[in-house]
């Protein structure tokens, strides 16, 4: 795992593409680039992709993009730095986000690394943020020493896309070999820094250089490709070992299948439903449909707009985001009246015999649990329910019936369920529910959804007919309770 940061809001306009792959961003706050509008846009994107926000103040010199040293009066310098950070603070507060760090830009970054006077002045300018924000510094620099003395919390930053001199300064941009643009050169460079805390300088010396975060310049040629590949190389591997992380497989050339552990449990279902909610939340235009099942999601995508590999990377990044802010829809427990009278419960006798239970015991066992709905499939409105008591498990009929009535409540193997319409079927039938589980005229054709619960309530044959009548007159009120 590596931590990647990018300078953003500098007018390149590629932030939406970068964000999924980076961990932190340094937002230009008006000194060398950026204005209220760009800051606002970038803050929202950072929030969306849960990327850490940093202030990126600079010498006030838009013309030279903050890339040359400027001599300023101390008071004037302190004022501009505080104004820049203050501007961003306001915007960040407006969007209910937070600043994590400060990173000086361009010539200022280089100056504070070398000059004690500049470093002292800069630290003075930001001293009021000392307890709130961390400070990005290069290893073995003047500002590092001073910041540590003054109890700033420092983050060591190395450059993923820049060559270093033997004194650990960056090779000047005026030289041809200042910037690394080929991923073939960047990966070994970053690997060495990450694994040995060393850098191979321009004169081929291996010198110690500590790094907590790696900077990729968003205006570097191939910046998007570089962050994608760094991400894939260093950061996707660890996430695969997370237990809640699904395996991703292509399903034809328009589908991506996400599969969790091969279990029908509430925990697995929770992961599936949270992931679905996350995907819906991000409102990704290229996703056409998401089909949820017990331990999987099948995503249908528009293959004219995105290819499998790119979408796979995007998804991996999304999954690594913390999901505590994702609200899954409220879950309900629905009361489902079932008449277990012998007119409907045509297999009750057989179940009683085979499972050595009385009919009353069958009804008690069947109405006791809250069954969780794992998915809807097989027939429109057919609920896959989990939680059937072991004592009620029973094999399907050796020969299926040609017609099982609409509303029939049955058991097949380890599952119980309700036939939403008349159809052929091999389940053992123990009763019938007067409810409609699928109504084509409703925008939501089934009242229940995956994640909800069902509680069967035994009703007499008289009550059954009363409920039926109320339903056909539109007077029946379905009983439900919110699950907290």
């Amino acid at each position: 795992m590596i931590h990647i940061n990018c300078d953003v809001g500098e007018g390149v306009g590629n932030e939406e593409l970068l964000m999924p792959y980076i961990n932190a961003c340094n937002i230009a706050c008006g000194g060398h680039a950026g204005d209220d509008e760009t800051m606002g846009e970038v803050v929202l994107l950072a929030k969306k992709y849960q990327v850490e926000i940093g202030a990126h103040p600079s010498y006030p010199d838009r013309e030279n993009f903050g890339r040359i040293s400027i001599h300023m009066a101390s008071a004037e310098f302190i004022k501009t730095i505080q104004n820049q950070i203050g501007n961003l603070e306001e915007i960040v507060a407006f969007h209910a986000a937070k600043i994590v760090h400060i990173k000086p830009h361009g010539a200022l970054y280089n100056d504070v690394a070398k000059s004690e006077e500049r470093a002292q002045l800069f630290l003075k300018a930001i001293s009021k943020y000392k307890d709130k924000y961390k400070l990005y510094v290069p290893y073995n620099s003047v500002i590092e020493t001073l910041a540590l003395e003054q109890n700033f919390e420092v983050i060591y930053e190395a450059f993923a896309d820049r060559n270093y001199n033997d004194d650990l300064t960056l090779v000047s941009r005026k030289k041809d070999d200042a910037v690394l643009t080929e991923i073939g050169a960047i990966i070994p460079h970053v690997s060495l820094l990450k694994n040995e805390q060393k850098v191979l300088t321009i004169s081929k010396q291996k010198i110690t250089l500590k790094s907590d975060t790696f900077c990729v310049h968003s205006d570097t040629l191939n910046a998007i490709k570089i962050v994608q590949q760094l991400y894939t190389y260093f950061n996707s591997e660890k996430q695969h070992s997370k237990p809640t992380f699904p395996t991703i497989k292509a399903y034809g050339n328009t589908g991506i299948l996400l599969t969790w552990e091969a279990k029908m449990t509430s925990e697995v279902l929770k992961n599936v439903l949270e992931c679905k909610e996350k995907l819906l939340n991000f409102n990704i235009e290229v996703l056409l449909d998401i089909i949820q099942s017990n331990n999987s999601l099948l995503i249908i995508y528009d293959n004219n707009k995105i290819d499998f590999k790119t979408l796979q990377h995007l998804l991996e990044r999304l999954f690594s985001l913390k999901s505590d802010k994702i609200q899954t829809p409220t879950q309900f427990c629905w009361e489902v009246p079932v008449c277990y009278d012998a007119t409907f419960g045509i297999d009750l006798e057989e179940i009683a015999q085979k499972n050595k239970l009385s009919i009353a015991e069958i009804i008690t066992l069947h109405t006791a649990p809250k069954y969780q709905i794992f998915s809807i499939g097989f027939l429109p409105g057919f609920l896959y329910l989990g939680g059937l008591d072991k004592r009620l498990h029973i094999d399907r009929k050796p020969t299926p019936r040609l017609e099982v009535k609409k509303g029939a409540v049955g058991i097949g193997g380890m599952q119980t369920g309700i036939y939403p319409k008349s159809s052929p079927g091999g389940w053992q039938i123990l009763g019938n529910s007067p409810l409609n589980f699928f109504e084509v005229s409703n925008e939501k054709p089934c009242f229940a959804k995956a994640g909800d619960f069902i509680k069967f309530v035994s009703v007499s044959i008289e009550e059954y007919h009363q409920i039926s009548e109320a339903i056909s007159n539109g007077n029946y009120i379905l009983k439900s309770a919110e699950i907290c």
Binding site: Y251, G252, G255, A262, S293, G377
Partner: protein, 282 residues
């Protein structure tokens, strides 16, 4: 209105399908052969999702109760308009009282009749595709009247579209690896691509293939399936799911047809031969 004088073997109204209700267990449905259904609509200047009449092996006999333009695309079931042979892929005007009758099957399985602006049957869950339990009817029957809007314009498009023999004659069915392809042994995988399979029982839900693959694959926890998914059943038979397939299934999904191969298979008849060709995801 279009009056159904004779329903044919299996005739239904279909558009491109019913999406976004799969989480309620509602199949996608829609035309089996998207190429020829879209072609028919394009020739008439319709939206490609306009509802058409899909006929299977034996066409219907119909009478027009309003003026319109029509086109027939897909399998050749010898259509005759008022007794005269009707060319495929060509828009023609029809008048009140005209009759369209289909006869002997020459090639292919499914043919499409489109009218100007499409058939206007009930829209259910954002689609007009017939499906049992969703729409009132699952197929048309004798005496039905199918609504469409009247249209009178003596100019037809004159677009002449060539016939695409590859969609009817080619044995080659292109497939991607399915999610459970790796459950298969090397021998099973090779056998899939070295065997010529013959089409068995088939309908809008699925095409069974006759030849079997020895199978010890475990079932999976019920998971999503798609039209074009090939499932391997415990008996070793392969089932190619088609447009009316269920939304989920528990058999291993070993292969997935590409869009064009679904079209080709939709025009295959019992005992026709097919051969799989492997594709990879770029």
């Amino acid at each position: 209105m279009l009056e159904i004088l004779h329903s044919g073997l299996y005739t239904s109204v279909q558009d491109l399908g019913r999406f976004h209700y799969r989480n309620y267990g509602v199949p996608v449905s829609g035309v089996m052969d998207e190429f020829h259904a879209k072609l028919a609509n394009i020739i008439l200047g319709n939206h490609e999702n306009a509802a058409v009449l899909e006929m299977t092996l034996q066409g219907a006999s119909v009478k027009f109760h309003a003026n319109t333009q029509i086109v027939v695309c897909g399998a050749n079931l010898s259509p005759k308009l008022n007794g005269a042979p009707l060319r495929a892929n060509l828009a023609v005007n029809v008048s009140i009282g005209d009759q369209l009758v289909f006869g002997a099957r020459k090639f292919g399985v499914r043919t499409y009749l489109a009218v100007k602006n499409g058939f206007q049957t009930e829209m259910v869950l954002k689609s007009r595709s017939f499906y049992d339990g969703i729409t009132q009817k699952s197929r048309v029957s004798k005496g039905d009247f199918i609504p469409y809007t009247s249209f009178l314009d003596k100019d037809t498009s004159h677009t002449k579209v060539g016939f695409q023999p590859i969609l009817f004659n080619s044995k080659e069915i292109s497939v991607f690896k399915g999610p459970e392809f790796d459950f298969l042994s090397k021998e099973q995988q090779e056998k899939l691509f070295n065997t010529t399979f013959s089409v068995g029982l088939n309908n809008r839900m699925a095409y069974q293939l006759e030849e079997t693959i020895e199978n010890e694959c475990p079932s999976i926890i019920t998971s999503a399936v798609l039209p074009g998914t090939i499932q391997l059943t415990p008996s070793g038979k392969l089932i190619v799911l088609m447009k009316d397939c269920q939304t989920t299934g528990g058999y291993p999904r070993i292969l997935q047809l590409d869009q064009q191969s679904i079209i080709k298979l939709a025009q295959k008849h019992t005992r026709d031969l097919i051969q799989f060709k492997k594709l990879s995801i770029s």
